[in-house]
């Protein structure tokens, strides 16, 4: 997948995004309360997957710190227990998540490949345990209640955060920073030797993407109502965005979005329809996708291109053969 192709399709993508956002803003007028909750969950996963892809997509460094960064937002919300207005809480959650990501970023500077994955996973577990310890030994309150807010309010916050996330993802792709990240993922040594400050680019993007994770965490806390470390820092929150992004494909911006939407819907459908074999079907679907579409859904669009090209080449080959046959026959006749 070449970066210039993304630039070529930018206008179309922008148009699609504006339409999607408008549809999302109007959706509550037509949807039932339950579908809106589903939509809120979908938005949450889309935001998490998209912000995960911002860093891990181009750099190919798989981060499993999403749970910690999301949980940071959730716990901020829980800690204030509605003492502050939601926008302020969301802002503080985003900020704390950014600080945590900066810390993780500075610690993981030199790690590559599987060491980075393990470290980020470890950090998530560490943060959860620290909070758990704090609640059990210091504050002596395990679990907190967060005053609920109307789902519609939360939904609009999620849409706003989604809009900001997608805007950031667009800008990242469009600026030289995005290209630098792709270079780092491609060949880190080469990137450093052409003047890219590898460390700064990585930490900046990682911390930047955490803002959105923290923000949506702070919003979702009011939906969860009851918060404890196991809920806020659920390891699944780390794994699901990775799976969704792989499912959708990270080479296109719409890949992770589509992946998150389909994945969440599939999960909802399977849980309600086949609660007993849900995980089984879920796992099989995932295996099938990875086996047959290693580039995710985004690959389909590219594969079609090659199929067409293949057809063209075959036709050319076939015509050449026909021509030679005809030429040879004529030569024989001439003799």
């Amino acid at each position: 997948m070449l970066i210039s192709t993304i630039f070529a399709k930018r206008k179309l993508a922008m148009g699609l995004m504006v339409v999607t956002l408008l549809a999302l803003l109007l959706a509550p007028q037509f949807l039932s309360g339950r579908s809106m909750v589903t939509l809120l969950t979908i938005l949450m996963y889309v935001i998490l997957t998209l912000s995960w892809t911002m860093f891990s997509g181009p750099t190919r460094l798989v981060s499993l710190a999403t749970a910690a960064l999301f949980g940071m937002g959730v716990y901020t919300s829980a800690a204030f227990e509605g003492a502050l207005p939601l926008p302020v809480i969301v802002a503080i959650g985003a900020l704390l998540s950014l600080v945590l990501a900066l810390l993780i970023g500075v610690l993981t500077l030199r790690l590559r490949g599987v060491y980075f994955i393990l470290f980020t996973f470890g950090v998530s577990a560490l943060v959860r345990n620290v909070v758990q310890y704090w609640e059990a030994r210091v504050s002596l309150t395990v679990g907190r209640h967060v005053p609920g807010l109307p789902n519609e309010t939360l939904y609009y916050y999620a849409v706003a955060i989604f809009a900001l996330t997608i805007l950031a993802a667009f800008l990242l792709r469009d600026t030289s920073l995005g290209m630098a990240l792709a270079g780092i993922g491609d060949n880190e040594d080469a990137a450093a030797h052409i003047g890219i400050d590898v460390t700064r680019a990585k930490v900046f993007t990682f911390a930047g993407s955490a803002i959105f994770m923290g923000a949506i965490g702070a919003v979702m806390a009011s939906r969860f109502r009851y918060i404890e470390p196991a809920i806020a820092f659920n390891p699944l929150i780390s794994f699901l965005p990775v799976l969704m992004a792989i499912f959708g494909g990270v080479t296109r911006l719409w890949g992770p979005i589509l992946g998150a939407v389909i994945f969440t819907l599939l999960q909802h459908f399977l849980i309600t329809e086949y609660p007993y074999v849900y995980l089984l079907i879920f796992g099989l679907t995932l295996i099938a996708v990875i086996a047959y579409l290693p580039g995710g859904l985004a690959e389909i669009s590219e594969r079609n291109y090659y199929k067409l090209k293949g057809k063209y080449l075959f036709r050319k080959f076939w015509l050449t053969m026909k021509y030679r046959e005809w030429r040879d026959r004529r030569e024989w006749r001439d003799i």
């Binding site: 997948m1 070449l2 970066i3 210039s4 030289s176 290209m179 630098a180 792709a182 270079g183 491609d186 060949n187 040594d189 080469a190 990137a191 450093a192 030797h193 052409i194 003047g195 890219i196 400050d197 590898v198």
Partner: protein, 224 residues
């Protein structure tokens, strides 16, 4: 210790060759100079400034660029994008607009003979062309000193003459060149001065003819 006794200099405008048997520490020396490795002893100065403890990107921004023995290109990008990225990041004191960058990259690629290959993905290019892309990418940061690590190894005779021509062309442009090379023909014809490395130390230095007639050098290379 791969490199232990290497005291030498490269003058502005020179083409200096670095030769030595396999495992002599030539590439390690390059890695020390470009910042890929950090040295625990010794001092490296560039344009009068101590660069011993600087990181690769800082050294690059001070005007040094390099190629790699096994090419390290961005394989998922086109040749053009490889060079453009280096142009955008290797010139920190300039703000380069998109259109300006396009024009400059195209010009640069034309000057090293890559115009027709510029929009191809790296993996579709031959080794010789990939090396050229790497040189173009190094040149994009407008370096005063260019480190070339075996850019002529494995080329056909035809490609070799073209590569030698390119190196001479670069000197005319005012770029100082420090190159590791095994191809003797290239070294002898192109370089002003040659440094010979063996077991991580400098064992000889001088003009191509001096080095070719040096007793120790002949002993190492020919074993008599």
């Amino acid at each position: 210790m791969a490199v232990s006794d290497a005291d030498f200099y490269v003058e502005q405008g020179e083409i200096v060759g670095l030769i030595g048997p396999n495992g002599a520490g030539k590439t390690t020396l390059f890695n020390l100079i470009s910042g890929a490795l950090s040295s625990d002893k010794g001092k490296i100065t560039f344009k009068g400034e101590d660069i011993t403890d600087l990181k690769p990107h800082q050294i690059n921004r001070r005007g040094m660029a390099r190629t790699f023995q096994t090419t390290k290109l961005f394989a998922d990008m086109t040749a053009f994008e490889n060079v453009r990225l280096a142009l955008l990041y290797g010139n920190p004191d300039r703000t380069i607009r998109r259109r300006e960058a396009k024009r400059e990259v195209t010009k640069l690629m034309a000057s090293v003979g890559l115009l027709s290959d510029r929009n191809k993905p790296i993996r579709d290019l031959s080794l010789a062309t990939q090396r050229r892309v790497e040189i173009a990418r190094a040149l994009a940061s407008n370096p005063d000193l260019l480190l070339l690590d075996e850019v002529m190894a494995g080329l056909t005779p035809n490609e070799l003459s073209q590569a030698m021509q390119l190196v001479t062309q670069l000197r005319e442009r005012g770029t100082t060149i420090f190159m590791i090379e095994h191809v003797m023909r290239a070294i002898m014809e192109v370089c002003d001065r040659i440094i010979v490395f063996h077991y991580g130390s400098k064992i000889a230095e001088g003009s191509p003819s001096e080095v070719a007639n040096d007793q120790t050098v002949n002993q190492i290379y020919l074993g008599n």
